[in-house]
């Protein structure tokens, strides 16, 4: 392994750091000394990261902490100012983009479908990196698209226009397109944006199923810390362009971390459904006497 100074580096001894994987899993995708900037504004500064293979990694952090920027760089949508993203040990910039597209899929935050395209045709676009002008629809294409549409439950929508669909359906269609690409690594930039809570859960369950059943490595940026805690195997918390902590949510998510990363007082309790960490904003009643404590009391009075 490379000896990096990253706080979450997967060192062999797996000592006191908050690394997620006790068995130090291999990592096809990693970042070394990654510095990312827009114009003159540096967003991510000297970041090291190993994305554990076969796991769901979720990146969280406050707005403008650089999490989406990091994801864009991992998916070569943004060129590093310094440092590099490595795919199988090779600098991403040096691998032909088409070859990258066969290993690494990415669903951007707000993808735009070509006007009036049907669902079946959009999902089929995911096969792009596998096709040639003389190989427009191979049996492998057929299998991948059928499979992607089945597993996202959009097979019945094949002939519908994408712009007629609801937000939840549309997001599933986009995920189907990314799946049809059949990449081992899948990057998702806030896949739950614009979705109501039921659809958010639906999409996240789908992502986890893909990871569990197909062994896809997933890196996701999520806004909601509780969703991140629930769906991540490996949680990466960022603040001001740096990784503050990473590891399995059970260890990484603490009241200290929430305060450090979001500047928010919170209580971390066991999630009644999963037993994992659940972040409840607000200081405990003993710590702050005023406003927060009175709210639950009022509610309790109103209930009977």
């Amino acid at each position: 392994m490379t000896d990096t100074t990253s706080p979450g580096g997967t060192t062999a001894d797996g000592g006191p750091d908050r690394t997620g994987a006790p068995d130090a899993p291999a990592s096809r995708l990693s970042a070394r000394g990654l510095t990312l900037a827009y114009e003159s504004r540096t967003v991510v500064d000297g970041l090291d990261l190993d994305v554990p293979d076969g796991r769901v990694t979720v990146v969280v952090g406050p707005n403008a902490c650089g999490k989406s920027t990091l994801l864009r760089a991992l998916g070569r949508l943004l060129r590093p100012r310094r440092g590099a993203v490595l795919l199988d040990g090779r600098e991403l910039d040096r691998v032909p983009t088409r070859a990258v597209a066969r290993s690494l899929g990415l669903l951007p935050q707000a993808p735009v479908a070509p006007e009036a395209i049907t669902v079946g045709n959009l999902v089929a676009r995911g096969r792009q990196p596998h096709q040639r002008w003389w190989q427009q629809w191979s049996e492998a294409d057929e299998r991948a698209v059928t499979d992607a549409m089945d597993s996202t439950g959009v097979t019945g929508l094949a002939d519908r226009a994408v712009d007629e669909l609801s937000g939840g359906q549309r997001q599933r269609v986009w995920i189907a397109m990314a799946l049809a690409q059949e990449t081992e690594l899948l990057l998702l930039d806030e896949p739950t944006t614009y979705l109501d809570i039921a659809h958010q859960v639906e999409v996240l369950d789908l992502v986890r199923r893909l990871n569990r059943e197909r062994g896809r490595t997933v890196v996701m940026v999520l806004h909601d810390l509780n969703q991140a805690a629930r769906y991540a195997d490996h949680l990466v918390a960022m603040r001001e362009g740096r990784i503050v902590a990473q590891g399995p949510p059970g260890r990484a998510v603490t009241a200290d971390l929430v305060r450090e990363v979001f500047g928010l007082e919170a209580v971390v309790v066991p999630d009644p459904v999963t037993g994992g960490p659940l972040v409840v904003p607000g200081a405990p009643a003993s710590a702050s006497a005023a406003a927060p404590a009175t709210v639950p009391v009022n509610i309790r009075k109103a209930t009977p």
Partner: protein, 365 residues
């Protein structure tokens, strides 16, 4: 009772598995490792447009100061001896062929430029080609260029130069579609003022000739324009074939396209360059023919109902509109000839409005 039911159910599931899955609306041809998709509706529309174009060409060759029988026209086209050889083959044919090529080139150019600009209203006029060509040509005319053989080449150079400048100015860490259109518009306005200035400055006769060039006409043009244009189009053909496929990739948003392994910068440059060359050579041969580039791709796409602009159908439609427009321009107020540009707009615009107003799913503006 139960046994027949169970037997009856088994084959019902079978058809679902054997039907090959393919993108909706496409036919599939597989030969060994090679496989090709064919959009069925596009194929039908293309065939219909080809038939309409053939009819327009024959009609255009038949009608003139004297009417010729279609049978004689076909004989001339096939190279058989005919008494109408002179009228059809020598007088009418070059003009019709030129119109065909100009229409097809402008249509495809419009489609490519609209794809790069991500804007159905983009056209060679908006990104500087037309006005660049006009400024240089009119400038040369009014400042006493006497060799009229040079004018088309100047026009081509002017168009390409203006478009290249627009492209360079619109480039900032990649091409932004919005910047491309806005900077193109800025250049176009400036170049149009420059053209006006040349016309006021220059002597009266030259200004009048410039005005004639500016309206775009096939009047008095023939093999001397059609020949070079034909060669130019032949040279661009491989690029156009590449565009037909690349254009599909550029229809996705930047991030998605990049994620799918499309080298977007290269694809956009290729599409834009091909579009600009096509528009420039067509404008050089016939002057600015209005609306063909703007309307043909949109009409064709609404007819085929595809997500991307169908280039072959667009080419045929452009050729059809110009051929029909020129026929009407010649005959409507005969013996007075109208500029073809007036008629192409008059035919194309109402039809496009009707297509959009009819508002099918495939016709969302």
């Amino acid at each position: 009772m139960t046994a027949p039911d169970a037997v009856g159910e088994t084959p019902r599931e079978a058809p679902g598995r054997e039907a090959p899955v393919r993108p909706p609306g496409y036919g599939l041809v597989r030969r060994g490792r090679a496989s090709f998709l064919l959009h069925r509706r596009s194929a039908a529309v293309t065939a219909a447009l080809a038939a309409a174009l053939a009819a327009a060409v024959v009609a255009s060759l038949c009608l003139g100061e004297t009417a010729t029988a279609p049978t004689e026209v076909v004989r001339v086209l096939l190279g058989l001896p005919s008494p109408e050889e002179l009228v059809v083959g020598t007088l009418r044919l070059p003009r019709v062929v030129l119109g065909l090529m100009v229409g097809a080139a402008l249509g495809v150019a419009g489609g490519l430029i609209q794809t790069v600009a991500r804007n159905p209203l983009a056209s060679p006029e908006i990104i500087g080609v037309t006005h660049g060509a006009a400024a240089l040509t009119v400038g040369a005319m009014t400042f006493g260029l006497t060799s009229y053989a040079l004018l088309p080449y100047l026009s081509v150079a002017g168009g390409m130069l203006a478009a290249a400048l627009v492209y360079v100015f619109a480039w900032r860490r990649g091409l932004s579609a919005a910047r491309f259109v806005l900077i193109g518009l800025g250049f176009s306005v400036a170049l149009r003022s420059l053209t006006q200035l040349f016309m006021t400055k220059g002597d009266f006769l030259a200004a009048q000739q410039a005005q004639v060039w500016l309206t775009g006409s096939l009047n008095g043009r023939g093999w001397e324009q059609a020949g070079p244009l034909g060669w130019a189009l032949l040279a661009v053909l491989p690029a156009v074939l590449w565009c037909a496929r690349a254009q599909r990739q550029a229809a996705l948003d930047d991030d998605t396209a990049t994620a799918l392994g499309v080298r977007l910068g290269r694809v956009r440059l290729g599409l834009a360059a091909t579009g600009v060359v096509l528009a420039s050579v067509a404008t050089g041969a016939a002057g600015p023919v209005d609306f063909v580039a703007l309307l043909s791709p949109q009409i064709a796409r609404r007819l085929t109902r595809t997500a991307q602009i169908p280039l072959l159908a667009t080419a045929l439609l452009g050729a059809f509109v110009v051929t029909l427009g020129d026929l009407l321009a010649r005959r409507l107020l005969a013996p007075v000839e109208l500029p073809v540009g007036v008629l192409t707009a008059a035919i194309g615009a109402p039809y496009l409005v009707w297509l959009i107003a009819r508002g099918r799913t495939g016709g969302r503006p």
